[in-house]
Amino acid sequence: MPEFVLTVARFGFLILLWIFVFTVVGVIRRDLFAGARSSRLVAAPRGVGASAGPSRPAKVKRGRAAHQLVVTAGQLAGTRITLGEAQITIGRAEDSTLVITDDYASARHARLVPRAGQWFIEDLGSTNGTYLDRAKVTGPTPVPLGVPIRIGRTSLELRP
């Protein structure tokens, strides 16, 4: 084998190795930023971006269906559930969709039900109640994007 071919093979292998590493990082990056982009859109209406104008957040809210349920506070903070067609049950019972180990949560605390593209929160007779932002939930209540649902010390939000 000529020396030249061997040298090309030797360095070519190292370069390919690093190309592989960066390809994997690229795949992972797509995965990471798929979640990050949606949370930025939601954060805008509630935070600093709200001063930009009242029309923009409204447009964001109306145009999008909720695709994710994100736990923003409590022991499960950071957990994301991708929403489908099925209802989501929340409580301490192990067969809930979202099992929260919160001292103030009941075994079957509340549920989120989709109806014609809109998600409704419904309290299932919990001891300490479910709150949508600051208001106590008494019947099925539509949940807008980015408004916190509070159960005990846990806080949940719908995100696009």
Binding site: L6, A9, L16, T23, G91, G117
Partner: protein, 498 residues
């Protein structure tokens, strides 16, 4: 009560379309990466033969093709059984495993005679055995994916698994030395020419047990505590069983003279405890205990000897490898010289002399590879390990149940710690303790156990990425209207709470 305005309803189907695409997109990315990996390993094998033999034998591609076939089979299994699993894990592991097989075959080539080299049988030598073990290990991983359809089902057998873990760790200590001792470490079962290292499999079992127990007790552990010296200690009775398991495995391991594995179990235990209770005090206690124990073992080894003499000797070699370069420090010196010869870009695949390093097929595989692919290649391999661990931790973050979080976090951390312990030892950063380099070192037990760990991580990352629909979730519904939950009908019952 201020019910906000109802946004315009969107058709229910719009939500489903991108998610179907998302799962098949992930699998296609995985397939593309796998093909890339196999081409990379093929290029490595060809370069090795071109450099070492000055010609490329006509059947150099057969081992790579066999490995590629079994990885593709695993990919198909994942496509059907874990479609939402992380796309980066399998290709990254496949790269390490493929390079490991090719490198071990290269060691065989170097030690074979000139006439044997031309047609080395495929399943002969260390490389051939590693190839066979790879095929078995990947089939085992696929089997785990087939049997365990929901990682939460594992928690039902947690106590059994804990017992199995302890028994696996204890078997070699109880067996007479002739059946269990290799190179001074009693951690094998040897029957005839066949040998397995049961401690490797204990990792998965013990992590599952710790995770289950701590999920049950995490509230008690983090709430009912006594404050002492500014740190909250839990009550003894809450922690009793876990500490008992840990002490037992640790005692057995010291008795088996394998401190590297003891360190691994200790780190695993502390980190799962930390993840479960969210208390930094556990990390502080763990690190203090570890450094105190290491210092004590060092001083005891210097004065008393006995079971600590081994550790003292290792520490002395670490402090000055070149003190006795032909005696105690021989392994370390050869390893460091190999890495030094490799330099930045290495001697090229097949261009080095890895046979000069003792134990190059098991403990020092990283030094042997380093001589040929250099710092540039080794750091790529380390980044690949880092990515695997990161994806494991990510699966733990994203999954919805606490048991899955603890298992994924514990397994991913254990894998990372093992890489740190052995690579740190080989490069002289920390005292060397005999561990296998996951997926690279020769050895069936290590390969099978690590592939099982990867299968478990895949299962958990699949559960994390899976959208909650009736068919997939299987655990929707509840009392309070809406009729009986149809999805629960026929679903496996799961009894977790007592």
């Amino acid at each position: 009560m201020t019910a906000p305005a109802v946004p315009a309803p969107t058709p229910a189907t719009t939500g489903e379309m991108p998610r179907v695409r998302e799962s098949s997109g992930r699998r296609n990315a995985e397939l593309a990466l796998l093909v890339f990996v196999m081409l990379l390993v093929l290029a490595y094998a060809a370069t090795v033969e071109a450099t070492a033999l000055d010609t490329i034998t006509p059947d150099f591609w057969i081992p790579v093709a066999l490995v590629a076939g079994v990885f593709l089979a695993l990919h198909v299994v994942i496509r059907f059984l874990a479609p939402y699993a992380d796309p980066a894990i399998v290709p990254a592991v496949a790269l390490l495993n493929g390079l490991g097989v090719a490198f071990l075959r290269r060691i065989d080539l170097a030690s074979a005679d000139a006439e044997e080299r031309a047609d080395l049988p495929i399943f002969s030598g260390v490389g051939g055995r590693q190839l066979a073990w790879t095929l078995i290990a990947v089939v085992l991983a696929a089997g785990l994916l087939i049997i365990v359809r929901d990682h939460r089902a594992v928690s039902r057998y947690a106590y059994t698994l804990g017992l199995v873990g302890i028994v696996l760790v204890m078997i070699p200590a109880v067996l007479p030395s002739q059946f269990s001792e290799i190179n001074g470490a009693k951690l094998w079962i040897r029957i005839g020419g066949f040998q397995i290292q049961p401690g490797e499999f204990a990792k998965l079992a013990l992590v599952s047990f710790f995770a289950y127990y701590l999920v049950r007790k995490r509230e008690v552990l983090s709430l009912a505590s006594r404050r002492f010296l500014g740190i909250d200690f839990p009550r003894g009775r809450d922690l009793g069983p876990v500490v008992a398991v840990w002490l037992l495995s640790l005692l057995v391991l010291v008795f088996e003279k394998d401190l590297g594995t003891a360190l691994l179990y200790f780190g695993m235990f502390v980190v799962i405890l930390y993840v479960a209770t969210e208390r930094v005090s556990w990390l502080i206690i763990g690190l203090l205990l570890f450094f105190g124990g290491a210092f004590l073992a060092y001083t005891l080894g210097a004065s008393v000897g006995g079971p600590f003499a081994n550790f003292y000797q290792r520490a002395e070699i670490w402090l000055d490898p070149f003190a006795k370069p032909y005696d105690d420090g021989f392994q370390m010196v050869q390893s460091l010289l190999g890495l030094g010869t490799g330099g930045l870009f290495g001697a090229g695949p097949g261009g080095g002399q890895p046979n000069k390093i003792p134990l190059v097929v098991s403990d020092f595989v990283f030094a042997g590879l380093g001589e040929e692919i250099g710092l540039f290649g080794l750091s790529a391999l380390l980044v690949v390990y880092l990515l695997i661990v990161e994806r494991g931790l990510r699966a733990g973050l994203a999954v919805r149940d606490s048991f899955g979080k603890l298992v994924a976090g514990g397994l991913a951390f254990t894998l990372g710690l093992q890489v740190f312990v052995i690579v740190g030892g080989v490069t002289g950063l920390i005292p060397l303790t005999g561990q296998t380099t996951p997926f690279l070192s020769a050895g069936g037990s290590s390969l099978m156990a690590n592939w099982l760990i990867i299968a478990m991580l895949l299962r958990i990352s699949d559960a994390a990425g899976r959208p909650v629909t009736g068919a997939a979730g299987g655990r929707v519904g509840g009392p309070g209207g809406g009729g009986p939950p149809a999805q629960l009908h026929g679903a496996p019952t799961e009894v977790i709470r007592s």
